[in-house]
Amino acid sequence: MAKNTSGGAQRAVAPVEFRILQAGDQAMSVEFGTTVDERINRLAQAFDRRLSAAAIEGVLEAVPTYRAVLVLYDPLRIRAADLRKRLAKLVPARLEEEVAARRWTIPVAYGGAHGIDLDAVAARHGLGAADVVALHAGAEYRVYMIGFAPGFAYLGGLPERLHTPRLESPRLAVPAGSVAIGGVQAAIMSVEIPSGWHMLGRTPEKLFDPRRSAPFLLAAGDRVRFDPVSPEDYARLEARVAQGEVVARLEAAP
């Protein structure tokens, strides 16, 4: 485990620990921890931004995840030993102030056919369905990573009252747009997938549409809030989405 303690500030700030793990001769993983943790995720995303700005010759793409950044490169253009040194230098000395993030407000129809598990989740926690909606829609979430399927967003920031173990047996298919919770996490399903998460609602917005000029709505590090809408509003918004419109609201960075 390397420690990056350069950087001057003498306050009691935990040094940034990281490991660079070789993943074959075309990739290495810069790892900041092994758990789901906001600080670790912020470090991974800060490193991802620095890596992108550094534009290292031979680096092809990077995949930021919960706790690490996978760096894919061309071994004919840069050697592992050189890349390793350059990546180590890009690790931030400490957890920096965050850059202004994109803030999204995403419409969601909760409960009923749109969220078949809302009532069961409420009953499990001794809450009313309206309390679950208020808790879920009252929180701000951080996009920890996009993975598993095109545009699938893993969100951190689920209120503790709503932490719910996953279903014993996953459903074979849940529809695209499902707004779900599982364990300590929340997610928005971008495509139809099998899932053991609890479906609280559904958004008419498309997280992934290859026909749009910006095919992916969300990126790692974005913030997300949910705006409860009626089933009638859902239908109207869905019709606009079908015309290629983006109905989620994006707040300009402050």
Partner: protein, 317 residues
């Protein structure tokens, strides 16, 4: 009238593939692309295309194809028998097809995947910068789907003037030795005995393998302490070991992230060989350093350049 290649019979699985959809793994999009990039590049070289031009990847058997609306030049790369209107021809040579000609590609002799390239490529709009098909998410290729009987692929620039080329098939053979791997990134989830068992035993390819992953059967590997990790990115050739201890080598259609420990990663020079394994085939792994893998990568690039130089005008059909 534009020229089309028509699928008379797609064989077991035929998809349009190029070198892969790069740059979108951070958005959860699998790279896809040809599983055996080495043989794919030869197919394109035989018809004078850019190395990464989209071609048809077929599986176990090559099916039959015909051309409509004009002539075109095609080439089959891979150890598969080829017949033009019933006349047997060697693979690894370009052929000029006239309208109505029937190109039949048989069952591979020890090969799992072959490539059918057309001179000038297919007139298919790239999706997210690539024509590669990812069937599971419906991206790329022809409407995001595997090619079905009757599928028609428009050709972009079928006119050719140079004589057709051929390659001595012996030059296109894959190295038969152990598959070289670099240990990690999660080899610390296994003790010395499991790491030894991984390289000491032969592994048999399970029939439930696909473009996403190659499932292996053998003596299960024991994890040292659990088999769940917090999901991280997956490199090409990554070998994950889920709870049952049986390794899965992740291929072109792999998910961008995953939550099982990855014991080792197949080196870039040996990745194309994974595309030629067939159910029941056995493989062994050999651990090498990343520096040794880099030497192999340079040798593989050099070999491809030698192959291009070895292309010769094909004889008269």
């Amino acid at each position: 009238m534009s020229v089309h290649l028509r699928c008379v019979n797609p064989g077991a699985l035929a998809t349009v593939q190029d070198a892969g959809r790069m740059g979108y793994q951070r958005y959860g999009v699998p790279p896809s692309g040809a599983v055996d990039l080495f043989t794919f590049h030869i197919a394109n070289a035989l018809v004078g295309n850019d190395p990464d031009e989209a071609a048809i990847e077929f599986t176990l058997t090559g099916g039959s194809w015909t051309v409509e609306g004009g002539a075109c030049r095609v080439a089959v790369a891979g150890a598969f028998p080829v017949a033009l209107n019933g006349t047997t021809l060697p693979a690894f040579r370009a052929l000029d097809l006239a309208p109505g000609d029937l190109l039949k590609i048989g069952v591979g002799a020890g090969a799992a995947r072959g490539y059918l390239a057309v001179a000038g490529g297919f007139a298919i709009e790239p999706v997210l910068g690539s024509r590669a098909t990812h069937v599971r998410s419906g991206l790329g290729g022809l409407d995001g789907k595997a090619l079905a009987k009757g599928a028609r692929l428009a050709l972009r620039a079928p006119e050719v003037s140079d004589p057709p080329l051929a390659l001595d098939p012996r030059l296109a053979r894959h190295d038969p030795g152990a598959l070289r791997v670099v240990p990690g990134p999660q080899d610390d989830y296994f003790d010395a005995a499991a790491l030894h068992a991984f390289v000491a035993q032969p592994w048999r390819m399970h029939p439930q393998s696909d473009r996403m992953g190659l499932r292996l059967e053998g003596r299960p590997l024991q994890h040292k302490s659990g088999f769940n990790i917090v999901s991280d990115g997956i490199a090409p050739g990554s070998i994950q070991v889920p709870g049952n201890g049986l390794p899965i080598v992740l291929l072109a259609d792999r998910q961008s992230t995953g939550g099982y420990p990855k014991i080792a990663t197949v080196v870039s020079a040996d990745l194309p060989r994974l595309g030629q394994l067939r159910p029941g085939d056995t493989v062994r792994f050999e651990a090498i350093t990343v520096e040794a893998a880099e030497t192999l990568a340079r040798e593989a690039a050099g070999r491809m350049n030698l192959l291009r130089a070895a292309l010769r005008p094909a004889g008269i059909v």
